[in-house]
Amino acid sequence: MSVLRPMDKLPDLNRATVLLVSTEDALLQQLADAMLREDCASELRVHLAKSLPLPSNVNRPRVDLIVFVINLHSKYSLQNVEESLQHVDSSFFLGKVCFLVTGAGRESHCSIHRNTVVKLAHTYRCSLLFCDLEVEGFRATMAQRLVRMLQICAGHVPGVSALNLPSLLRSSEGTLLEEL
Protein backbone atom coordinates (compact mmCIF):
# COMPACT_ATOMS: atom_id res chain seq x y z
CA MET A 1 0.00 0.00 0.00
CA SER A 2 2.82 2.36 0.73
CA VAL A 3 4.77 1.39 -2.39
CA LEU A 4 5.31 4.06 -5.01
CA ARG A 5 4.08 2.97 -8.42
CA PRO A 6 4.79 4.71 -11.70
CA MET A 7 1.52 4.12 -13.50
CA ASP A 8 -1.11 4.14 -10.79
CA LYS A 9 -2.34 7.66 -11.58
CA LEU A 10 -3.28 9.47 -14.75
CA PRO A 11 -0.79 12.07 -15.90
CA ASP A 12 -1.70 15.74 -15.81
CA LEU A 13 -1.53 17.67 -19.05
CA ASN A 14 2.01 18.92 -19.71
CA ARG A 15 3.07 18.37 -16.11
CA ALA A 16 6.23 16.59 -15.01
CA THR A 17 6.84 15.70 -11.36
CA VAL A 18 10.16 14.72 -9.86
CA LEU A 19 10.66 13.32 -6.38
CA LEU A 20 13.99 14.12 -4.74
CA VAL A 21 14.83 11.88 -1.80
CA SER A 22 17.64 12.62 0.65
CA THR A 23 18.27 13.09 4.35
CA GLU A 24 19.91 16.46 3.73
CA ASP A 25 17.13 18.95 3.24
CA ALA A 26 19.34 21.94 2.48
CA LEU A 27 20.91 20.22 -0.54
CA LEU A 28 17.50 19.23 -1.88
CA GLN A 29 16.14 22.73 -1.49
CA GLN A 30 19.03 24.21 -3.44
CA LEU A 31 18.75 21.59 -6.17
CA ALA A 32 15.01 22.15 -6.43
CA ASP A 33 15.53 25.90 -6.79
CA ALA A 34 18.14 25.31 -9.49
CA MET A 35 15.82 22.97 -11.40
CA LEU A 36 12.92 25.39 -11.31
CA ARG A 37 15.10 28.15 -12.68
CA GLU A 38 15.55 26.21 -15.91
CA ASP A 39 13.53 27.12 -18.96
CA CYS A 40 11.26 24.24 -19.65
CA ALA A 41 8.29 23.72 -21.90
CA SER A 42 6.64 21.39 -19.39
CA GLU A 43 5.16 22.49 -16.10
CA LEU A 44 7.53 21.29 -13.40
CA ARG A 45 6.72 20.07 -9.92
CA VAL A 46 9.41 19.15 -7.40
CA HIS A 47 8.60 17.04 -4.37
CA LEU A 48 11.18 16.83 -1.58
CA ALA A 49 11.18 13.90 0.80
CA LYS A 50 13.51 12.76 3.52
CA SER A 51 12.69 9.10 3.05
CA LEU A 52 10.09 6.72 1.72
CA PRO A 53 7.35 5.69 2.29
CA LEU A 54 5.61 8.99 1.70
CA PRO A 55 2.64 9.96 3.86
CA SER A 56 -0.37 8.32 2.28
CA ASN A 57 -3.06 10.85 3.07
CA VAL A 58 -1.78 13.45 0.62
CA ASN A 59 -3.17 13.93 -2.86
CA ARG A 60 -0.09 14.05 -5.03
CA PRO A 61 0.42 13.86 -8.79
CA ARG A 62 2.01 10.92 -10.57
CA VAL A 63 5.74 10.84 -9.97
CA ASP A 64 7.70 10.66 -13.22
CA LEU A 65 11.25 10.49 -11.92
CA ILE A 66 12.76 9.64 -8.54
CA VAL A 67 16.22 10.96 -7.75
CA PHE A 68 17.92 9.47 -4.69
CA VAL A 69 20.61 11.84 -3.47
CA ILE A 70 23.45 10.20 -1.52
CA ASN A 71 26.11 12.20 0.25
CA LEU A 72 29.40 10.31 0.32
CA HIS A 73 30.29 12.08 3.56
CA SER A 74 27.40 10.51 5.44
CA LYS A 75 26.75 6.80 5.90
CA TYR A 76 23.39 7.80 7.28
CA SER A 77 22.28 9.13 3.87
CA LEU A 78 23.21 5.85 2.16
CA GLN A 79 21.41 3.81 4.79
CA ASN A 80 18.34 5.99 4.40
CA VAL A 81 18.32 5.54 0.62
CA GLU A 82 18.73 1.76 0.90
CA GLU A 83 15.74 1.58 3.22
CA SER A 84 13.66 3.83 1.00
CA LEU A 85 14.36 1.72 -2.09
CA GLN A 86 12.20 -1.03 -0.65
CA HIS A 87 9.16 1.18 -0.98
CA VAL A 88 9.53 1.70 -4.70
CA ASP A 89 7.73 -0.58 -7.12
CA SER A 90 10.01 -2.58 -9.40
CA SER A 91 8.55 -1.08 -12.58
CA PHE A 92 9.97 2.27 -11.53
CA PHE A 93 13.43 0.91 -12.13
CA LEU A 94 12.92 0.86 -15.90
CA GLY A 95 14.66 4.18 -16.25
CA LYS A 96 12.57 6.29 -13.88
CA VAL A 97 14.96 6.11 -10.95
CA CYS A 98 18.39 7.63 -10.81
CA PHE A 99 21.04 7.99 -8.11
CA LEU A 100 22.76 11.30 -7.61
CA VAL A 101 25.94 11.19 -5.58
CA THR A 102 27.46 14.28 -4.03
CA GLY A 103 30.58 14.94 -1.99
CA ALA A 104 33.06 13.01 -4.11
CA GLY A 105 35.17 16.13 -4.50
CA ARG A 106 36.37 16.16 -0.88
CA GLU A 107 38.06 12.79 -0.65
CA SER A 108 39.15 13.23 2.97
CA HIS A 109 35.57 13.64 4.17
CA CYS A 110 34.18 10.62 2.34
CA SER A 111 33.12 7.77 4.55
CA ILE A 112 31.46 5.77 1.78
CA HIS A 113 33.53 4.28 -0.98
CA ARG A 114 32.68 5.21 -4.53
CA ASN A 115 32.36 1.53 -5.45
CA THR A 116 29.54 1.08 -2.96
CA VAL A 117 27.28 3.44 -4.86
CA VAL A 118 28.47 2.12 -8.22
CA LYS A 119 27.44 -1.37 -7.12
CA LEU A 120 24.13 -0.07 -5.79
CA ALA A 121 23.28 1.58 -9.09
CA HIS A 122 24.36 -1.52 -10.97
CA THR A 123 22.18 -3.77 -8.80
CA TYR A 124 19.13 -1.70 -9.51
CA ARG A 125 20.08 -1.11 -13.18
CA CYS A 126 19.77 2.64 -12.71
CA SER A 127 21.70 5.62 -13.93
CA LEU A 128 24.31 6.98 -11.59
CA LEU A 129 25.25 10.65 -11.66
CA PHE A 130 28.07 12.33 -9.77
CA CYS A 131 27.92 16.00 -8.89
CA ASP A 132 29.22 18.23 -6.13
CA LEU A 133 25.94 19.86 -5.25
CA GLU A 134 27.59 22.41 -3.02
CA VAL A 135 29.22 24.15 -5.98
CA GLU A 136 26.80 26.52 -7.67
CA GLY A 137 28.01 25.93 -11.22
CA PHE A 138 27.94 22.13 -11.02
CA ARG A 139 24.57 22.24 -9.37
CA ALA A 140 23.12 24.36 -12.19
CA THR A 141 24.47 21.98 -14.82
CA MET A 142 23.14 18.95 -12.98
CA ALA A 143 19.76 20.66 -12.62
CA GLN A 144 19.69 21.13 -16.37
CA ARG A 145 20.41 17.40 -16.93
CA LEU A 146 17.77 16.39 -14.42
CA VAL A 147 15.16 18.58 -16.08
CA ARG A 148 15.87 16.99 -19.47
CA MET A 149 15.70 13.51 -17.89
CA LEU A 150 12.44 14.44 -16.22
CA GLN A 151 10.91 15.57 -19.49
CA ILE A 152 11.89 12.25 -21.09
CA CYS A 153 10.46 10.25 -18.17
CA ALA A 154 7.20 12.20 -18.33
CA GLY A 155 6.96 11.35 -22.01
CA HIS A 156 7.24 14.95 -23.21
CA VAL A 157 10.11 14.27 -25.59
CA PRO A 158 8.94 12.48 -28.73
CA GLY A 159 10.98 9.48 -29.77
CA VAL A 160 12.80 8.97 -26.47
CA SER A 161 11.36 7.06 -23.55
CA ALA A 162 12.54 6.41 -20.02
CA LEU A 163 13.67 2.95 -21.06
CA ASN A 164 16.42 4.51 -23.19
CA LEU A 165 17.86 6.46 -20.29
CA PRO A 166 20.04 3.89 -18.49
CA SER A 167 21.86 2.96 -21.68
CA LEU A 168 22.15 6.59 -22.79
CA LEU A 169 23.61 7.66 -19.47
CA ARG A 170 25.92 4.73 -19.00
CA SER A 171 29.50 5.78 -18.27
CA SER A 172 32.58 3.75 -19.17
CA GLU A 173 32.83 2.59 -15.55
CA GLY A 174 29.41 1.05 -15.84
CA THR A 175 30.39 -1.03 -18.84
CA LEU A 176 33.46 -2.38 -17.04
CA LEU A 177 31.27 -3.61 -14.19
CA GLU A 178 28.90 -5.40 -16.52
CA GLU A 179 31.69 -7.14 -18.34
CA LEU A 180 32.93 -8.72 -15.09
Binding site: T23, R45, H47, L48, S74, Y76
Partner: protein
Protein backbone atom coordinates in the same frame (compact mmCIF):
# COMPACT_ATOMS: atom_id res chain seq x y z
CA UNK B 1 35.78 22.55 40.59
CA UNK B 2 33.34 22.03 43.36
CA UNK B 3 33.58 21.41 47.01
CA UNK B 4 31.27 20.24 49.77
CA UNK B 5 31.04 22.72 52.62
CA UNK B 6 31.56 21.35 56.06
CA UNK B 7 29.81 24.10 57.99
CA UNK B 8 27.71 26.94 56.74
CA UNK B 9 29.82 30.00 56.26
CA UNK B 10 27.61 33.05 56.04
CA UNK B 11 29.95 35.96 55.71
CA UNK B 12 32.80 36.03 53.25
CA UNK B 13 35.82 37.93 54.51
CA UNK B 14 37.92 38.84 51.49
CA UNK B 15 40.98 39.91 53.46
CA UNK B 16 40.98 36.76 55.50
CA UNK B 17 40.63 34.66 52.33
CA UNK B 18 43.59 36.43 50.74
CA UNK B 19 45.75 36.05 53.81
CA UNK B 20 44.95 32.40 54.20
CA UNK B 21 45.51 31.61 50.51
CA UNK B 22 48.84 33.42 50.42
CA UNK B 23 50.01 31.81 53.63
CA UNK B 24 49.40 28.29 52.40
CA UNK B 25 51.13 28.77 49.07
CA UNK B 26 54.08 30.70 50.45
CA UNK B 27 54.59 28.24 53.26
CA UNK B 28 55.06 25.45 50.75
CA UNK B 29 56.89 27.34 47.98
CA UNK B 30 59.20 30.22 48.63
CA UNK B 31 59.10 31.62 45.14
CA UNK B 32 55.55 32.32 44.17
CA UNK B 33 53.78 35.53 43.15
CA UNK B 34 50.14 35.90 44.06
CA UNK B 35 47.88 38.80 43.14
CA UNK B 36 44.18 39.33 43.72
CA UNK B 37 41.51 41.35 41.97
CA UNK B 38 37.84 41.61 42.72
CA UNK B 39 35.60 41.85 39.66
CA UNK B 40 32.25 43.62 39.62
CA UNK B 41 30.44 40.35 39.16
CA UNK B 42 31.30 39.34 42.69
CA UNK B 43 34.19 37.17 41.58
CA UNK B 44 37.68 37.01 43.03
CA UNK B 45 40.39 36.68 40.37
CA UNK B 46 43.66 35.21 41.60
CA UNK B 47 46.83 35.19 39.54
CA UNK B 48 49.61 32.83 40.61
CA UNK B 49 53.05 32.75 39.05
CA UNK B 50 55.08 29.70 39.96
CA UNK B 51 58.77 29.50 40.68
CA UNK B 52 61.09 26.86 42.08
CA UNK B 53 63.50 26.93 44.97
CA UNK B 54 66.23 28.42 42.84
CA UNK B 55 64.29 30.20 40.11
CA UNK B 56 62.19 33.33 40.23
CA UNK B 57 58.50 32.93 39.49
CA UNK B 58 57.75 32.64 35.78
CA UNK B 59 55.46 35.59 35.07
CA UNK B 60 54.77 34.42 31.54
CA UNK B 61 52.99 31.23 32.49
CA UNK B 62 50.68 32.12 35.35
CA UNK B 63 47.70 30.18 36.54
CA UNK B 64 44.42 32.00 36.98
CA UNK B 65 41.72 31.09 39.44
CA UNK B 66 38.28 32.65 39.45
CA UNK B 67 36.46 32.04 42.70
CA UNK B 68 32.83 32.94 43.40
CA UNK B 69 32.60 33.33 47.15
CA UNK B 70 28.85 32.86 47.39
CA UNK B 71 29.05 29.53 45.60
CA UNK B 72 31.12 26.40 46.09
CA UNK B 73 32.70 26.78 42.65
CA UNK B 74 36.06 27.95 41.40
CA UNK B 75 37.42 27.93 37.86
CA UNK B 76 41.07 27.18 37.26
CA UNK B 77 43.02 27.76 34.07
CA UNK B 78 45.32 25.10 32.72
CA UNK B 79 48.35 24.71 34.97
CA UNK B 80 51.50 23.87 33.05
CA UNK B 81 53.23 22.56 36.17
CA UNK B 82 51.25 19.46 37.12
CA UNK B 83 53.00 19.12 40.47
CA UNK B 84 51.60 22.40 41.78
CA UNK B 85 47.96 21.49 41.15
CA UNK B 86 47.34 19.63 44.46
CA UNK B 87 48.88 22.53 46.36
CA UNK B 88 46.63 25.00 44.59
CA UNK B 89 43.60 22.88 45.38
CA UNK B 90 44.58 22.71 49.02
CA UNK B 91 45.10 26.45 49.25
CA UNK B 92 41.67 27.12 47.74
CA UNK B 93 39.98 24.63 49.99
CA UNK B 94 41.46 25.88 53.19
CA UNK B 95 41.18 29.57 52.36
CA UNK B 96 37.53 29.23 51.42
CA UNK B 97 36.85 27.11 54.50
CA UNK B 98 35.60 24.01 52.77
CA UNK B 99 36.02 20.43 53.76
CA UNK B 100 36.70 18.85 50.41
CA UNK B 101 37.58 19.85 46.88
CA UNK B 102 36.59 17.83 43.83
CA UNK B 103 37.62 18.37 40.25
CA UNK B 104 34.72 18.31 37.80
CA UNK B 105 35.01 16.72 34.36
CA UNK B 106 34.08 19.94 32.65
CA UNK B 107 36.59 21.87 30.57
CA UNK B 108 36.28 24.65 28.04
CA UNK B 109 38.06 27.71 26.71
CA UNK B 110 35.13 29.96 27.52
CA UNK B 111 34.71 30.99 31.14
CA UNK B 112 31.26 32.42 30.47
CA UNK B 113 30.06 29.12 29.12
CA UNK B 114 31.46 27.21 32.07
CA UNK B 115 29.72 29.65 34.39
CA UNK B 116 26.48 29.28 32.46
CA UNK B 117 26.55 25.51 32.75
CA UNK B 118 27.65 25.37 36.36
CA UNK B 119 25.25 28.02 37.62
CA UNK B 120 22.47 26.74 35.32
CA UNK B 121 22.07 30.13 33.67
CA UNK B 122 22.00 28.85 30.10
CA UNK B 123 18.32 28.04 29.91
CA UNK B 124 17.02 31.46 30.72
CA UNK B 125 15.13 32.89 27.80
CA UNK B 126 14.41 36.58 28.12
CA UNK B 127 10.70 37.27 28.38
CA UNK B 128 9.46 40.14 26.32
CA UNK B 129 6.27 40.86 24.45
CA UNK B 130 7.86 39.71 21.20
CA UNK B 131 8.57 36.24 22.48
CA UNK B 132 5.68 34.66 20.57
CA UNK B 133 6.31 36.55 17.34
CA UNK B 134 9.64 34.90 16.34
CA UNK B 135 8.03 31.44 16.12
CA UNK B 136 5.37 32.72 13.75
CA UNK B 137 7.90 34.56 11.63
CA UNK B 138 9.93 31.41 11.26
CA UNK B 139 7.13 29.37 9.72
CA UNK B 140 5.88 32.26 7.58
CA UNK B 141 9.35 32.90 6.26
CA UNK B 142 9.56 29.35 4.96
CA UNK B 143 6.32 29.77 3.03
CA UNK B 144 7.32 33.05 1.41
CA UNK B 145 10.68 31.75 0.18
CA UNK B 146 9.22 28.57 -1.20
CA UNK B 147 8.19 28.31 -4.78
CA UNK B 148 4.70 26.91 -4.99
CA UNK B 149 6.02 24.26 -7.35
CA UNK B 150 8.12 22.73 -4.54
CA UNK B 151 6.28 20.39 -2.23
CA UNK B 152 7.77 19.16 1.01
CA UNK B 153 6.54 15.64 1.63
CA UNK B 154 7.87 14.97 5.10
CA UNK B 155 6.62 18.02 6.97
CA UNK B 156 5.32 15.83 9.80
CA UNK B 157 8.73 14.22 10.21
CA UNK B 158 10.45 17.61 10.09
CA UNK B 159 8.12 18.92 12.75
CA UNK B 160 8.85 15.90 14.93
CA UNK B 161 12.59 16.44 14.58
CA UNK B 162 12.22 20.13 15.43
CA UNK B 163 10.18 19.28 18.49
CA UNK B 164 12.56 16.57 19.71
CA UNK B 165 15.56 18.86 19.19
CA UNK B 166 13.83 21.61 21.12
CA UNK B 167 13.06 19.21 23.97
CA UNK B 168 16.67 18.03 24.15
CA UNK B 169 18.41 21.37 23.74
CA UNK B 170 15.87 24.10 24.41
CA UNK B 171 15.34 27.33 22.49
CA UNK B 172 18.15 29.26 24.11
CA UNK B 173 21.69 29.69 22.74
CA UNK B 174 23.94 26.87 23.91
CA UNK B 175 27.03 27.40 26.08
CA UNK B 176 30.22 27.20 24.10
CA UNK B 177 32.32 24.06 24.54
CA UNK B 178 35.11 22.80 22.32
CA UNK B 179 35.35 19.11 23.14
CA UNK B 180 33.42 16.13 24.35
CA UNK B 181 35.49 13.10 25.18
CA UNK B 182 34.25 9.60 25.89
CA UNK B 183 36.63 7.05 27.33
CA UNK B 184 35.22 3.58 26.84
CA UNK B 185 36.33 0.71 29.02
CA UNK B 186 33.81 -1.91 28.12
CA UNK B 187 33.96 -5.45 26.93
CA UNK B 188 33.55 -5.93 23.21
CA UNK B 189 30.02 -6.98 22.29
CA UNK B 190 29.44 -8.80 19.06
CA UNK B 191 26.63 -10.71 17.37
CA UNK B 192 29.02 -13.22 15.86
CA UNK B 193 29.99 -16.09 18.10
CA UNK B 194 33.62 -16.86 18.53
CA UNK B 195 34.83 -13.45 17.49
CA UNK B 196 38.42 -12.90 18.57
CA UNK B 197 37.69 -9.56 20.19
CA UNK B 198 34.67 -10.86 22.10
CA UNK B 199 36.79 -13.53 23.81
CA UNK B 200 39.04 -10.99 25.47
CA UNK B 201 38.79 -10.85 29.24
CA UNK B 202 40.05 -7.33 29.67
CA UNK B 203 37.84 -4.44 28.65
CA UNK B 204 38.50 -2.79 25.31
CA UNK B 205 39.89 0.68 25.64
CA UNK B 206 38.65 3.22 23.16
CA UNK B 207 38.59 7.00 23.09
CA UNK B 208 36.04 8.99 21.11
CA UNK B 209 36.54 12.72 20.94
CA UNK B 210 34.19 15.23 19.38
CA UNK B 211 35.65 18.65 18.66
CA UNK B 212 34.11 21.77 17.25
CA UNK B 213 34.38 25.55 17.68
CA UNK B 214 30.89 25.42 19.21
CA UNK B 215 30.14 21.82 20.04
CA UNK B 216 26.65 22.09 21.51
CA UNK B 217 25.27 24.20 18.66
CA UNK B 218 26.75 21.71 16.21
CA UNK B 219 25.07 18.79 18.01
CA UNK B 220 21.80 20.72 18.08
CA UNK B 221 21.90 21.21 14.30
CA UNK B 222 22.69 17.56 13.48
CA UNK B 223 19.13 16.26 13.35
CA UNK B 224 17.55 19.22 11.51
CA UNK B 225 20.34 19.07 8.92
CA UNK B 226 19.58 15.41 8.26
CA UNK B 227 22.99 14.15 9.33
CA UNK B 228 21.73 12.16 12.30
CA UNK B 229 18.56 10.64 13.63
CA UNK B 230 16.52 12.44 16.25
CA UNK B 231 16.57 11.97 19.22
CA UNK B 232 20.33 12.07 19.66
CA UNK B 233 22.04 9.74 22.04
CA UNK B 234 21.54 10.83 25.65
CA UNK B 235 25.32 10.71 26.06
CA UNK B 236 25.48 13.78 23.85
CA UNK B 237 22.44 15.65 25.09
CA UNK B 238 23.22 15.29 28.78
CA UNK B 239 26.38 17.45 28.65
CA UNK B 240 24.91 20.70 30.03
CA UNK B 241 22.61 19.02 32.52
CA UNK B 242 25.28 16.69 33.91
CA UNK B 243 27.90 19.47 33.81
CA UNK B 244 30.42 17.12 32.24
CA UNK B 245 32.13 16.90 28.92
CA UNK B 246 34.70 14.25 29.76
CA UNK B 247 33.07 10.88 30.31
CA UNK B 248 34.30 7.47 31.39
CA UNK B 249 32.04 4.67 30.34
CA UNK B 250 32.38 1.30 31.98
CA UNK B 251 30.37 -1.87 31.91
CA UNK B 252 27.72 -1.95 34.58
Amino acid sequence: MSREPDEDVDLFDLEQFKRSFKKILQRALKNVTISFRVAETNAVWIRVAWGTQHAKPNQYKPTFVVYYPQTPYAFISCCHLKSTVPLLHQALRVASKHHQIVQMDLRSRHLDSLKAIVFKEYNQTFEDHNSTAPLQERSLGLDINMDSRIVHENTIEKERIRRVTQESFGDHPQPQLEFAQYKLETKFKSDLNGSILADREEPLRCLVKFSSPHLLEALKSLAPAGVADAPLSPLLTCIPSKKMNYFKIRDK
